[in-house]
Symmetry: none
Subunit: 125 residues, 4 copies
């Protein structure tokens, strides 16, 4: 678990998004206990309140839940996670097409660009 922040977005949003990714990608498993607020604050070198705010919003999304005095946990609702994950992927794809469209590249070419770029990277790696 690792946290680096840029100055473009509020830190609490970056924390929220990072943890959401950890959950959606399965790096944090269903039902798993999260590090304590204070621990996350130490790891990420921000104020505990900032962490609290991020976690609070994740809880509103139902991706995590709180057991009083016990800690915070990833939801056990696999379906919820899967739905959000699919929504997330769908957005990435749609955003890609939209961005390309805005700069004047149609779908067919958008896919071609992607394949070419992928090949170039393959050479490097």
């Amino acid at each position: 678990m690792e946290f680096k922040f840029d100055n473009e977005k509020p830190i609490f949003i970056q924390v929220k998004e990072k943890l959401r990714l950890y959950i959606l990608s399965g790096y944090l498993k269903v039902g798993e206990k999260l590090p304590s607020v204070r621990e996350l604050a130490l790891i990420s070198k921000v104020n505990p309140n900032t962490i609290q705010k991020a976690l609070g919003e994740l809880e509103l999304e139902k991706l995590i839940y709180t057991e009083r005095t016990n800690g915070k946990f990833v939801t056990t609702n696999k379906i919820l996670i899967e739905n959000i994950r699919q929504e997330f992927v769908k957005n990435i794809v749609d955003n890609y097409f939209n961005s390309m469209k805005e700069i004047g590249i149609d779908k067919k070419s958008s896919i071609k660009y992607l394949q070419e770029r992928s090949n170039k990277n393959d050479i490097r790696s």
Copy 2:
């Protein structure tokens, strides 16, 4: 020319990005005169100061230049536009791969998702 804003980013940045897109996509042509600040302010229903700030930053990027008393124009430097455009496209592609990677989807699958989604949309249209 059309402007819709959300409240997540400063408006002047949204104006700047929109105009940059208009230039990179060719909607605003090389050397073309931009609408006046006042006019842009009316079109986008935004304070003229905000437009000024956006144009100022575009000018720093050399994408537009000012002729005193005459107005502001899209740069005539096609190469500059093309370079920025390619950089822009490259970023979109790389961001796509990165976003997918973060959620645990590899390049091969990333391309497949894109093709599937493209097909689905074709059916609709």
Copy 3:
């Protein structure tokens, strides 16, 4: 006897309120012996200390009393129970009127809403 808890209130308060309801509603009868602390702890899957705290507060209200070495019992003071019960009901009614008033619904309409809702539910059942 059944216990489900939410995380919004302290558990010991929820236990206390639940048991009070059992007494006021007659589900636990006058003079009846309560299950032992240990047993209540098992039933409700809660730490025995938490049960103790709840019972302690009920004892302060005189709704239960302790016979040393013998167990805890519902009070035999029927009048006390009846008084608390009536107070309780009065509160429910007043709270209903107040809640409706706060959202701008007068007494007459409040009663009408109730009757309509009751009819709807009758259809279902």
Copy 4:
């Protein structure tokens, strides 16, 4: 606009609920500008951050929205307000029946209690 707090619930929740009532009951009108965060903090004698938290949650419910640098406003979505209002009323009614049921009073009697209590109050007023 008036704020009195008890110690049973967090202040930010009480602020949130009060404002929600003001909106649902129409005391704060559709599209109306709210007092500034700082002003609300003065009126209610709590820290601006506490107000901010309350308003933040109302915004997540879409009952209010923010215009950057301009202030916060009641949503203009009348349908949303009406839906939430009806949900709210429905909950009050259901809670009434449930509370009465828990203490052992059936629906028919629940309605009778209400009518009697209402008559008593009429005498007073």
